[in-house]
């Protein structure tokens, strides 16, 4: 294992984050605050509580998940797309590294950044509402697992994309709608029975449900199902990445 290479890539990516600190960290904080103002205050004044939890507190896990998914996908996809775009990827290919080190460096950095954003949002939320975390360790595990899994997914998108449009299309057309429809801002029990069934096909539901359970012991689906869903997606991403590097798909001619 080439540890120095992992460190080099990780530090390089984190330096990029620091250079774009405002964009990386300030903008999720700002948009989260806006969500609180709009959803928490406006809707919260009508829906006072969901299954015993105040609406403002209820939406915190969903909001964090929303940012976590978007940040992970965009950080990781951009991280690997950019060297492909500028051509500096030649150096990675010519270096004594396998895909394990490349993934550890790029995905590790993207996931770190998402977790930092998640924690900042959690802290920002404190300014608006009071909340408690019933299972802190599982909460951290969900946070980390989701950040890593969706960073892997973003990495795949970054390799697949051969222009900036493709880079944006999956986050915009898939991740954002699935997240908004993924019980981030409501409980599945608020939906008519048919929609409840359809909603269960949305993978994001399992993430948000599990994450919310770790806060309030409230779940739309069993916490086991949530863990299984995220682990399954993680494995699927790893298998895809293994295949990409074995075949050189879109990486090497």
């Amino acid at each position: 294992m080439n540890w120095y290479a992992i460190r080099a890539i990780y530090n390089f990516e984190m330096a990029r984050t620091r250079r774009t600190l405002m964009q990386s960290i300030a903008s999720p904080v700002l948009s989260t605050s806006l969500y609180f103002v709009v959803f928490g205050s406006a809707i919260g004044s009508r829906i006072t509580s969901v299954e015993g939890v105040s609406y403002g507190a209820f939406i915190i896990p969903g909001l964090i998940m929303l940012s976590l998914l978007m940040q992970s996908v965009s950080n990781a996809s951009f991280g690997i797309y950019f060297p492909k775009f500028t051509g500096t990827i030649y150096e990675i290919h010519s270096a004594p590294v396998s895909f394990v080190e490349i993934i550890a460096g790029y995905v590790g950095a993207a996931a770190t950044k998402s977790v930092i954003v998640g924690v900042i949002i959690l802290a920002t939320a404190r300014l608006f509402v009071d909340y408690h975390i019933a299972h802190p360790l599982l909460m951290a595990a969900f946070l980390l697992l989701t950040a890593i899994t969706f960073s892997l997914f973003g990495f795949i998108i970054g390799i697949w994309a051969d222009n900036f449009e493709k880079l944006q299309v999956i986050p915009m057309l898939v991740i954002t709608p699935l997240t908004f429809l993924g019980v981030s801002f409501y409980s599945i029990h608020m939906l008519p029975p048919l929609w409840q069934k359809i909603t269960l096909l949305n993978p994001v539901v399992y993430l948000v449900s599990g994450f919310r359970w770790s806060f309030y012991d409230l779940a739309d689906v069993g916490v086991g199902a949530s863990l299984a869903a995220i682990t399954g997606f993680l494995v699927a991403c790893l298998v895809t990445i293994g295949w990409i590097f074995r075949t050189g798909y879109k990486l090497k001619s």
């Binding site: 080439n2 120095y4 150096e91 590294v97």
Partner: protein, 320 residues
């Protein structure tokens, strides 16, 4: 002119550092960029891969370095297979690619340090400093790469390639679009590296460059390695020049008094062409001009022409 494929026929060199056996490459588009190539690079030599644009030079070195997937065949570096044992081979190799591709927002120091880490070595600031000083980059170490000129960026790419102290250095078209000062510095650096035991493989389409720098030259054209020769031997074969005399009065035939010279008369008798070897001790031009005067042949104009690389390739391919 017999053009043997010397690598195939000569005895195996004592200690080759790179051995390429039957390596070919067909790109996804279906285009065959390399026909099966056999080549060995000797430890410590400067080897020039000479060929026109599109010949397959970049493809060949990209395969050795791991940037392009190989087709058939096998490659070893220091006895290690470049696919199975890529960590061993790649950690020995430094590559300066043809295109100027740099991380614009990084500083010179950081990008060189990054390269060293990427190649699996612990930090060694003294080495990075030495490399940057050798390349006249020391004053610019804290500058972001995007603030540097094109020539400076090329120096940065060389610094990155040398950051992990490679045994083998590939320079792909190192002098394309490079100013005189950088070219001179680069050749000095290459010689110093060679003196310290580094094997250097460079590609170029300038025959003079191969001539000046290389111990041996491989000529590649349309994906085929046409020949591999000691530079001196090759220059002797290739260094032919033509002297053309536009005659005042057409000749019916070459007078017997001039038969000692390698002359050819054009069909209409108005031009005499003399072919000579630029590398020879005596070109024979003075003697020829003397004999022409003695024979009373006057001429209106005189011009010389050296074969272009393309013509040389055509010759080489045809004579196989």
């Amino acid at each position: 002119m017999t053009l043997l494929h010397t690598e195939a026929s000569a005895p195996v060199t004592a200690d080759p550092i790179i051995v390429v056996k039957g390596v070919d490459k067909t790109y996804g588009s279906g285009f065959q960029a390399l026909k099966p190539i056999d080549l060995s690079i000797r430890r410590g030599e400067i080897f020039a891969l000479l060929g026109p644009n599109g010949a397959g030079k970049t493809t060949l070195i990209s395969i050795i370095c791991g940037i392009v997937n190989p087709g058939n065949g096998s490659i070893t570096v220091d006895g290690h297979d470049v696919v199975r044992d890529f960590r061993a081979t790649r950690s020995r190799i430094g590559l300066v690619p043809q295109e100027l591709t740099t991380d614009a927002f990084e500083t010179v120091w950081n990008t060189a340090s990054f390269s060293r880490g990427l190649f699996g070595l612990p930090p060694k600031p003294a080495h990075i400093e030495q490399v940057l000083r050798d390349l006249s980059l020391w004053d610019k170490r804290d500058n972001k790469i995007l603030t540097l000129s094109g020539g400076m960026k090329r120096r940065v790419m060389i610094a990155k390639a040398l950051a992990h102290e490679p045994n083998v250095l590939f320079l792909d078209e190192p002098t394309a679009g490079v100013d005189v000062a950088l070219r001179r510095d680069m050749w000095n650096l290459v010689r110093r590296l060679r003196d310290s035991g580094v094997t250097i493989i460079l590609t170029t389409h300038y025959i003079e460059e191969a001539e000046d720098m290389a111990d041996r030259v491989g000529v590649i054209n349309k994906g085929e390695l046409i020949l591999v020769e000691q530079t001196a031997t090759l220059m002797h074969k290739l260094g032919k020049k033509e002297l053309t005399l536009q005659l005042h009065d057409p000749l019916a035939a070459i007078p017997p008094s001039l038969s000692a010279h390698a002359l050819a008369l054009s069909a209409d008798g108005s031009e005499l062409t003399y072919t000579y070897d630029t590398q020879a001790e005596h070109t024979g031009i003075t003697a020829l001009l003397g004999d022409l005067a003695a024979a009373g042949i006057r001429f209106r104009d005189i011009s010389t022409r050296q074969n272009t690389l393309e013509e040389i390739f055509v010759d080489l391919v045809r004579s196989r």
